[in-house]
């Protein structure tokens, strides 16, 4: 990153541990710093504590050990946070526009001021004109876009995404990946993206952090040193394949098992 300003950490986890009431140790001494404007992926096997880490960063739960620090602007105020859940998590009784405007209205913005801003972000995620629809009238991919629009509507500087595309088919997922990168490049937000897909993490991010199975800790990290914009040609390039191989190797180590990573071998076979 050439810009020295963007080297400042927005999120810093220091020795964070999380043990649940039932004795499950979800995280154990997790250290992680995220720079402003960075696109970071957290990659790890199921149950390793990725969601837990994200909820800690969002302030939705508190760590038992260590500290979670968020730094927004220069004056040290916490950054606005947007959260995209694994499921779209929309209110079925509210129209799309109402769902997207919710964060603004909860903050006390009058409806007539919230509505145009909601319409604006909806257009940004490619859903202009769908404001009056109810969530059930949308496809899975469209619901996910609504969820992303809702996370963007408060113009947060930090966007946390918890396997947002895991439930979607590959074609939709690729398209949303492209759209997400375009959004990130235009809006310049810090993104922490949780996924268990090697390909998604490599395609999207500047840095991939690989977590070990429970208790969750960071095993290693990879820098994906490829220029943006990334598009279809990147997806088929040999360097992409190399990054994916590295990442899946790391993931295999993280699982500390001799089980092959299915996705990776399937991908290599397909090539």
């Amino acid at each position: 990153m050439a810009d020295p300003d963007s080297a400042q950490p927005v999120v810093a986890l220091r020795g964070v541990g999380k043990t649940f009431g039932n004795g499950t140790v979800a995280l154990d001494r997790l250290d992680l710093t995220v720079r402003a404007g960075e696109f970071l992926s957290i990659l790890g096997p199921s149950g390793c504590g990725k969601s837990t880490a994200l909820r800690l960063i969002a302030g939705l739960s508190a760590p038992n050990r260590g500290g979670v620090e968020l730094r927004g602007s220069a004056d040290g105020a916490p950054p606005g946070v947007g959260f995209v859940f694994q499921e779209p998590t929309l209110m079925p009784w509210a129209r799309v526009a109402g769902n997207v405007a919710l964060p603004l209205e909860l903050a006390g913005l009058p409806r007539e001021q919230a509505a145009p801003r909601a319409a604006q972000v909806l257009a940004r995620v490619g859903l202009a004109g769908f404001g009056d629809a109810f969530p059930r009238e949308l496809s899975g991919g469209m619901k996910m876009r609504v969820s992303i629009a809702r996370a963007l509507v408060t113009e947060p500087s930090l966007l946390l995404m918890d396997e947002p595309f895991a439930a979607l088919d590959e074609i939709t997922r690729f398209r949303l990946n492209d759209d997400l990168l375009t959004l990130w490049q235009t809006l310049r937000k810090t993104v922490i993206f949780v996924t268990h897909s090697v390909f998604e993490s490599v395609f999207l991010s500047q840095r991939v952090v690989v977590m070990t199975a429970r208790p969750g800790r960071i095993l290693t990290e990879l820098t994906i040193d490829a220029p943006y914009p990334r598009d279809e040609s990147f997806r088929t390039s040999p360097e992409y394949g190399a990054f994916c191989r590295h990442a899946s190797q790391a993931l295999r180590e993280a699982m500390a098992m001799d089980e092959p990573v299915m996705e990776a071998s399937a991908m290599e076979a397909a090539r």
Binding site: G59, F85, L106
Partner: protein, 274 residues
């Protein structure tokens, strides 16, 4: 439960299906009335044992002045009891939702009130309360619990991710209740309301019967009790018919309200358009 495809045993167009759905119950009604009439005529059963359907109808029309007045009294009691049950049930459920301690302290007593048969409570209430108040209390008593139980369940069934979302945006208690918990609980509340509507009528009738045996009252159930003493069986039947119709009307009215409130979004009210 209806196994899939059971509707399709006879191939039918949508229009034909609608027609039969309305026509078959009517046909059954006509056949039943005809059989009833036939039994009465052929066996020469006297009207004070079993009146024929035509006599019941004539009594209904002839005694309409008395019966409709009584119907109004009973319906008013049932509706008041229902309204109080709705307000009380939803209100108490909201309180329970805000304070666990309050729920722990009071919920068992709500259950006790519910499981004690209203028939057994009514005579007691009639001793301590003025008659009209006692009848109202009975209507309220039976209708109250389904609203409370269903609302409590609904308020506790909110999607935990949506709860997290509201917390992320620092929603106040009030916003959480109005914008998330109550809308999410609405299908449950309406389910309770539909049960409560019919029960409030039953509660009112039970109390009126108890009051009637004490020789006072003006509701429809009191007319039934009174007619029984006088062996005016046709009027008993007419009053009974009115009560059933009132119950059915209440049920359909509440189902319709529920449909209006949920039709936009809830699975239970969506018309499948495949």
């Amino acid at each position: 439960m209806r196994p899939a495809g059971v509707d399709d045993d006879v191939p039918m167009t949508l229009g034909a299906r609608r027609f039969w759905r309305a026509a078959l119950p009517v046909l059954v009604l006509i056949l039943t009335l005809a059989a009833w009439d036939l039994v009465v005529r052929l066996n020469d059963i006297p009207p004070y044992v079993l009146p024929g359907p035509l006599l019941v109808w004539r009594t209904l029309v002839g005694d309409w002045a008395v019966l409709s007045g009584s119907l109004a009294v009973t319906l008013a009691t049932a509706l008041e009891g229902f309204a109080l049950a709705l307000v009380g049930g939803v209100g108490l459920a909201i309180l329970f939702n805000q304070s666990r301690l309050l729920e722990y302290a009071l919920y068992p007593y709500a259950v006790i009130l519910q499981v004690t048969p209203v028939v057994a409570i009514a005579p007691l209430l009639l001793i301590y309360l003025p008659q009209q108040a006692a009848v109202l209390a009975c209507a309220w008593l039976v209708a109250f619990f389904p609203v409370l139980a269903n609302t409590t369940l609904g308020l506790n069934s909110v999607d935990h991710n949506l709860l997290a979302l509201f917390r992320l945006y620092h929603a106040s208690h009030w916003q959480l209740l109005w914008r998330l918990k109550l809308p999410a609980a609405m299908p449950y509340i309406l389910g309770g309301v539909r049960i409560a509507g019919g029960l409030s009528l039953i509660g009112a009738v039970v109390a009126e019967i108890a009051a009637g045996s004490a020789g006072a009252g003006s509701g429809l159930a009191y007319r039934i009790a009174e007619s029984a003493y006088r062996l005016n069986i046709p009027r008993m039947f007419a009053a009974l018919l009115l009560l059933s119709v009132a119950g059915v009307v209440i049920f359909f009215a509440l189902s319709w309200v529920s449909h209006l409130l949920l039709r936009r979004w809830h699975e239970s009210a969506l018309v499948s358009d495949n």
